[in-house]
Structure formats: structure tokens, C-alpha cells
């Protein structure tokens, strides 16, 4: 039960933290924000790796393996496109000078 409570605390605090941090992201970068959070969310790959690697049943191994592939593609694709987008955002000459 204590484990459950501490997990709930983590969820609530992380939710608030996310709200405060993300509120400050300029509308300019909302598209990269979405692709970056998507890549970070693909951390689900660690859960999938455990399921695929433990091989406790055939079904679990198959589903885990597919889940690893799906999340890994989000990790790779998500970071790649976010970086490509952010590289394109450049300030004008005036801002650079100031």
C-alpha cells in the first residue's frame, strides 16, 4: 500500500511539475513540444524490454517484442524530427546583434 501511495504522490507531483514547465513553452515551439514529449513518453520501451526479455509466456514475449519495436520507433523518430525542427528556428539579424 505504501508503494501505491508513493506512486500516486509521484504522479500528482509530476503532473504539477509538467504543468508548470510546459506552460512556459512558447506557442512558437508547440509542434516540437509535442514531438519531444512523444519521444520521452516512448520510455515505455523499458517496460516492454522487460516483458520481452523475461519470456514468461509466448504471448507476453510476442506482445513485448512488438511493443519494443513500436516504442523504439517513437524514440528514434521523435528525437530526430524534434532536432530537425529546432535547427530550423533561427533568430533574425537584429536579435543576434542585441
Amino acid at each position: 500500500m505504501s508503494d501505491l501511495m508513493s506512486n500516486l504522490y509521484v504522479l500528482v507531483l509530476a503532473g504539477f511539475l509538467g504543468f508548470e514547465v510546459i506552460r512556459r513553452v512558447s506557442p512558437l515551439l508547440h509542434t516540437p513540444l509535442m514531438s519531444l514529449t512523444n519521444a520521452l513518453d516512448a520510455i515505455a520501451v523499458v517496460g516492454a524490454i522487460v516483458i520481452a526479455g523475461e519470456q514468461r509466456s509466448t504471448l507476453a514475449t510476442v506482445l513485448g517484442t512488438l511493443a519494443v519495436a513500436a516504442s523504439a520507433s517513437n524514440v528514434v523518430g521523435g528525437f530526430l524530427i524534434t532536432d530537425r525542427m529546432l535547427r530550423m528556428f533561427r533568430a533574425g539579424a537584429k536579435t543576434k546583434a542585441s
Binding site: L11, S26, P27, L29, L33, M34, A42, V68, S73, T95
Partner: protein, 465 residues
């Protein structure tokens, strides 16, 4: 290494990954530090994955390595799509994330049933229901954005009743499973119904509502990952899921506010229905102009505000627009861009397209900044935007878009609108902006029209020199 040592290494790596993920989002707040944010995220991810591979319970690496390889093969092309395809790519990645959550949840259930506590079973049910519905809904959204599916909202009588009944049925079965986790024969139901629900949910949603829907699906994908964290007892997953969930949630709020609509209205009140009633407007006279006229007016302007919309993306006109920006700026005009939060098909869509075309980001104004400037603007040039410029939203109580925050384009001294024809926008509402005395309609394809204006301007520039 002993299992104890590895588990400490894993826990510490996960903690570092959490810190890096939060920093990653924090650095994203400004364009100058944003790329550090991506790097922090990548390091955190690499750390977490590497540590997980040390886990002593893993008996074989074959499938993991193969799956990671497949992930790279699929992920790299998805990371290299052209910027115009970013909305559908994003929808597709929500689908993948949700699919992974649903599959891990299903695997966990069949491994542990019937010895699952009520709380874990609740988290599992949330994970699987949200994962499944987000999967099909995101695939549908991606299909609509890629235009392999019709963008028009498809509605039928009793649609909301059918959808809500399906959802209620899934929730009831989930509650039964929480009370009787051993009822394995019922588990497929909480996968199948949400899959169907996700598909039906997006059918009535039109293209212009996509920014809200994509944000909402982003939030669901995050929440299902957080639920997965509860099932697996992983705080790392809970934090990442909560961050993604709150990000999607904030974006959905911003998007629905920008359309003056509630979530429920976006999901259950298809906009296409107003089409027939509002589309019948008598023909009023408009003033139209040629590229030469437009070039002459722009030449005389000292401040120009460009209002891009989805039409610019469709016509792929952003590079021509950038040439126009260059030539006018060189002539000493102050050129800026006014960007409505829901312009395009996902949050921030226009900014990315213009940044790709090399327009400096400090020239891209959000709605509030732009509305302060419109009264001092000589020429407002609307390219492929419609409803977000309609003054009726401010004063016409009968208009379906009444109350929606708009760009005050009508306050500029002269307004020019590039448009294919006078046909109404997605909401089927006539735009009174087009009939104002100071408005000139420039009929034609956005890319071709801006191209001819640029040619006119450079020709006259050479003539003066």
C-alpha cells in the same frame, strides 16, 4: 554483478533519466536552449534503456535486439518526413505509443491473472482502454491528415448515443474485471470495444478540429503510459507519462480556447452540420485585384502583416512567402507574421513551416501580440486563412463561430486576401472580411499568386535601380 548491485544501478539510472527529462522540457521553453533539451532527453533515454538491458530477469536478448532494430528502421524514416507531413507523423507516433501501452498491458494481464490486486487491475484497465482507443483514433487522425481518408466530418443520427454507449460498456466490463480479475474471457472486450470506439470517435471530426484532437490524443497516450507505470511499479514511467499527459492536456485547453469550444463540443458536435444552413449567402460584390495591383500596394506599405493558414500549407507556398518577406524587408518594410493558435492542423504547425522556409522566429507573432499591432499595419495579407479572420466572431451572435478569438485583420488599413474562390471555410460560414471596402480579393493558388507578386516586385525594383 550481483542482482542487488544491478538493481541499484538501474534505479539510479532511472532517477537520472527523470531529472534529464524534466530539464529537457524546461529547456524547450526558449528557442535558444531548445536543442539542449533534445540532447538531455536523448541522454536520459539512452541511460534508461542501457540500464534496463542489465536487468537480471532478462533471459534472452534476441527478440529485444531484433525489435530495437526494427524500431530504428521504422523510426528513422518517420523522423525524416518533410515538415508539411509533421501533423500526420505526430498522429502516427501517438498511435505507436498507445499500441505499445495496450500490448504491454495485455501481456501483463495474462501473465498475472487472476492474482491481480484491485488497484493494479484498475490501472491495467485504464492503460489498455486508453491505449486501444488512442491507437485507432490516432490512426484515423493520421489517415485524415494524410488525406487517404475523407477530411469531411461524417455524421449520422444517434452517433453520440452509439459512441457513449460503447464507452460505457467498456467501462462496465472494466469494473467487472477489477472485481473479478480472473475473468480472462472478458479481457478481450476491453481491448476490442475501445479499438472500435477510437475509430468511431474520429469519424465525425473535421480537418480544422485536428489541432484539438491531436493534443487530446497526445494526452491520452501519456496517461496510458502513466497507468503502465503503476502496473509495472515504475516511477520513471509514471513521471514520463504524467509529463506527456499534462503537455497534451495544456495544448488541448489552448486549442479549444482558441476555437471557443469545449472538449465535449469538439468530440461530440461535428462542425460540418452547420454547412447547409449557413452556406446560402447572397452574392455580394467584392473587389478583386491582380498581382500587379497587389505588388503596387505592398511596395507603398511600410508595415505588412502576413496571416498564414492551412491553405498556405496545402499550396506549399511557404517558400514563396519567404521570398516575399525577403524582398519587402530589403525595401525597408517591416514584415511580420500573425499566427492564430489553431492555424494549420496541429499546435504550432505554421511556425514550423515558416521556420523551415527560413523566416526568423522573432517575426512570428502569436495572436495577442499581433492584435496589438493590427491598427498600425498598412497591409494585412491573408494567405489561406479564413475563419480565424472573420470579424463576425466578435459581434454576430448568430454566427457559429461567435466568441472565438480571432486575429483583428479588419483593423489594418488595407486587407488583401489570397483565396482560390469565394467558397466558405470549413465551418461553412461566409467571411464578412471579404466584403469590406478596404479588402481586395486576390483569387488564385497561393503559391502561384505570391510568386507573381514577388516577380512584379523584383521587376519594379530593377527598373528603379
Amino acid at each position: 554483478m550481483s542482482p542487488q548491485v544491478t538493481s541499484v544501478i538501474i534505479e539510479v539510472s532511472y532517477l537520472c533519466a527523470v531529472v534529464l527529462f524534466v530539464l529537457s522540457l524546461k529547456w524547450l521553453s526558449a528557442p535558444s536552449t531548445a536543442r539542449h533539451g533534445v540532447l538531455a532527453g536523448e541522454i536520459g533515454m539512452a541511460l534508461a534503456v542501457a540500464a534496463t538491458l542489465l536487468y537480471h530477469g532478462i533471459v534472452s536478448y534476441h527478440w529485444i535486439v531484433a525489435a530495437l532494430a526494427v524500431g530504428c528502421v521504422v523510426g528513422i524514416p518517420l523522423g525524416l518526413v518533410p515538415m508539411t507531413a509533421v501533423p500526420q507523423r505526430t498522429a502516427l507516433s501517438h498511435a505507436f505509443g498507445a499500441l505499445a501501452a495496450a500490448m504491454v498491458g495485455t501481456a501483463e494481464y495474462y501473465l498475472d491473472a487472476p492474482h491481480i490486486s484491485a488497484f493494479t487491475m484498475s490501472a491495467l484497465a485504464i492503460e489498455v482502454i486508453l491505449g486501444s482507443l488512442t491507437f485507432t483514433a490516432s490512426l484515423m487522425a493520421a489517415g485524415k491528415l494524410q488525406e487517404v481518408l475523407p477530411q469531411r466530418p461524417i455524421t449520422y443520427k444517434g452517433q453520440n448515443f452509439v459512441n457513449l454507449s460503447l464507452l460505457a460498456a467498456a467501462v462496465l466490463v472494466a469494473v467487472y474485471l477489477v472485481l473479478n480479475p480472473g475473468a480472462t474471457y472478458l479481457f478481450p472486450v476491453i481491448v476490442a470495444i475501445p479499438l472500435l470506439f477510437g475509430f468511431l470517435m474520429v469519424i465525425p471530426i473535421g480537418g480544422a478540429d485536428m489541432p484539438t484532437v491531436i493534443s487530446l490524443l497526445n494526452s491520452y497516450a501519456g496517461l496510458s503510459a502513466a497507468a503502465m507505470g503503476f502496473v509495472l511499479g515504475s516511477k520513471l514511467l509514471i513521471v514520463a507519462g504524467a509529463l506527456d499527459g499534462s503537455s497534451g492536456f495544456i495544448l488541448s485547453i489552448i486549442m479549444s480556447r482558441a476555437m471557443n469550444r469545449s472538449f465535449t463540443n469538439v468530440l461530440f458536435g461535428a462542425f460540418g452540420q452547420v454547412q447547409e444552413s449557413a452556406a446560402k449567402v447572397e452574392q455580394k460584390p467584392v473587389r478583386s485585384a491582380t498581382p500587379e495591383d497587389a505588388a503596387a500596394i505592398l511596395e507603398a506599405a511600410s508595415s505588412v502583416m502576413v496571416i498564414p493558414g492551412y491553405g498556405m500549407a496545402v499550396a506549399q507556398a511557404q517558400h514563396r512567402v519567404r521570398e516575399l518577406y525577403d524582398i519587402l524587408t530589403r525595401r525597408g518594410a517591416d514584415v511580420k507574421f500573425a499566427i492564430h493558435p489553431v492555424a494549420g492542423r496541429m499546435p504550432g504547425h505554421m511556425n514550423v513551416l515558416l521556420a523551415e522556409a527560413d523566416v526568423p522566429y522573432d517575426k512570428l507573432l502569436d495572436m495577442d501580440e499581433a492584435n496589438l499591432e493590427f491598427p498600425q499595419v498598412d497591409v494585412a495579407l491573408v494567405i489561406g486563412a479564413n475563419d480565424v479572420t472573420n470579424p463576425a466572431a466578435r459581434h454576430d451572435r448568430g454566427s457559429p463561430i461567435y466568441g472565438m478569438p480571432i486575429l483583428d485583420v479588419d483593423k489594418a488599413r488595407t486587407v488583401m486576401v489570397i483565396k482560390r474562390s469565394l467558397s466558405p471555410g470549413f465551418a461553412g460560414i461566409d467571411n464578412e472580411l471579404y466584403y469590406m471596402d478596404k479588402t481586395l480579393m486576390l483569387f488564385g493558388d497561393a503559391k502561384a499568386f505570391v510568386g507573381s507578386i514577388v516577380r512584379e516586385l523584383s521587376a519594379s525594383g530593377n527598373a528603379h535601380a
